[in-house]
Homo-oligomer: 304 residues x 2
DNA sequence: AATTTTATTGCTTTATAAGCAAATTAGTCT
DNA sequence: AGACTAATTTGCTTATAAAGCAATAAAATT
């Protein structure tokens, strides 16, 4: 490996024409300059400067070394500016894994603000099943995850937790809309739309059914939460969802979310997660703060 | 300036996935690897690896450093191979400044052999007046010079000197050809062809004329030595030249070179010169040896 | 030829990296 | 969940490389 210092001394000496000037510019003793150049020549096994002259004159090999070092500097500069970019978040990538339940226009708005603030950060958003999201976070495929009702996982750390009860979601004009609390049993004859099996929401509803020994017959199942929202909005029936999913309808008054008497449904939470022990890049850290603030505000707005 | 070692340790660690393996490969203590990487992070002000893991995982910045170092290595390799080329004379340039008198087919032959041996060395040959040749050597525009009858110059070193008397050159069938020595005065009525004023040869002839108070009237002057040789060969007249110029004709017996009684003409020499104190590149040095050998052999062949 | 400027060399001091051992931490295996 | 294993980190010492200083040598300038 070729010594950086030695090349640099040669370079400066050649540029300034004397070792003396180079040693001034480099703020070291001239003897060091002389010695390092001599050392470099010994290492390379070839003369770099023409000896026995006052002014430095490079040999062909010296010329080659000079050009090599000049390129080296510019590469180093490029690298350092890349580092600087990363340090100041002027570039980089954030991988965010989140449950489909959290995709909403409000969330988009928060994201838009973030991306406006850091225009060169690329935010990658992946939605998937809860299990798959957890795997992604565990394996560092995603920096941060936002998941609903996370099962225990020793390798995952919850950076933030927000209560996110599953509630009965109803059109504002629906006959059940005036209730402030509903028993699961009251829903058995309703027209219910639910997420497919495989959705974490559905699994939890199953647990609640078992808990209370109630069986809810779904009139419709889908893997599209949007479709469910539409199902409820249009007055065709009801659903059981986290409030965030119907955030917009709730805020406009079009929809209502009524809590149930099921402890299981009421205990569910949303988690902002990272892999245990993972140190986030600054950009990802900042984004996680924005998400945390967003989740907190959104829930407060919905349940005053 | 970024430390080479630190980058290297990071690079190896990332490549081999653990610092342990890297320290084995690098043959240093693991603690050194750990510390140098930590140091690099401190210098750059950004994390390069994700801490608190067994296997090395690079951050984005670490990735950037990794790629940077990889490029750096390949640049270094390219540079070293260039140096190696120069060291082994597989490339390079030699600037050779020589008097027109020395251009001959024998000289070409010597040069051809040299260039065959070192096919990637580019030999640049410049001919010029003696004064200009000296300037070129003095100013390092040429590595080596071959000049005739060099005037004193404190900055020029003669690496080799060969006696090169100016002789009267005659066609073998010429009436003067049988003489073994000629007085200058005997030439005054001959048909003489001489190099132009400005040629060193001509200057020396002038000195000899003054010395003996003889005036030689040239029937023809030219700046082409070839033309002079032709002039003599064709039997149109005689000339006064260094033997080397008519080397071929002398060896074939077509021409004869007869010494004069002028001490000045007899004392002239050919010099193989370099700038005083100049250390030649290996290639140029080798060529100078070849030239020296050539000059020596050529003169011996001519004056047994 | 004398003077000034520059480069080189010998020796000492300082700074940087390496080494070793102990402590800590993360991953793995019952 | 706890014990074990394999890795990293940290404190301290030793070795190595570079810097500094002073004296000497060499080259350009006057």
């Amino acid at each position: 490996m070729i010594s950086d210092i030695r090349l640099r001394y040669l370079y400066e000496s050649a540029k300034l024409e004397t070792m003396r000037a180079a040693s001034d510019a480099l703020d070291v003793a001239t003897s060091s300059v002389s010695r390092q150049i001599a050392e470099l020549e010994k290492e390379l096994g070839i003369a770099l400067i023409e000896r026995g002259r006052r002014r430095i004159r490079l040999t062909e090999a010296g010329e080659a070394a000079f050009l090599y070092y000049r390129d080296k500097i510019s590469h180093e500069e490029a690298f350092l500016s890349r580092i600087d970019e990363l340090k100041n978040m002027r570039s980089g990538d954030i991988y965010l894994a989140m449950g489909a339940a959290f995709i909403s226009s409000q969330f988009s708005e928060m994201l838009r603000e973030f991306m406006e603030k850091y225009p060169n950060i690329h935010v990658h958003i992946l939605t998937d099943t809860t299990a798959a999201l957890l795997r992604r976070v565990r394996e560092d495929e995603a920096h941060v995850g936002v998941v609903f009702a996370m099962p225990k996982d020793p390798k995952i750390r919850a950076r933030m937790t927000v209560a996110q009860p599953l509630k009965v979601v109803i059109n504002g004009r629906h006959r059940l809309a005036r209730k402030s609390r509903l028993g699961l049993a009251e829903l058995t004859n309703e027209n219910i739309g639910l997420p497919e099996e495989g959705f974490r929401i559905r699994q939890i509803i199953h647990q609640a059914e078992q808990e209370q020994d109630v069986f809810l017959k779904a009139a419709m199942t889908t893997n599209s939460l949007d479709l469910l929202v539409d199902f409820v909005s249009s007055g065709r029936g009801i659903s059981i969802l986290p409030e965030l999913v119907v955030q917009r309808g709730l805020l406009s008054g079009e929809l209502r979310a009524v809590a149930t008497d099921s402890p299981i449904l009421n205990a569910t939470e949303t988690y902002l997660i990272t892999r245990l022990g993972r140190q986030l890049p600054i950009a990802a850290h900042r984004l996680s703060l924005s998400i945390a603030a967003y989740l907190k505000n959104a829930m407060q707005a919905l349940s005053p």
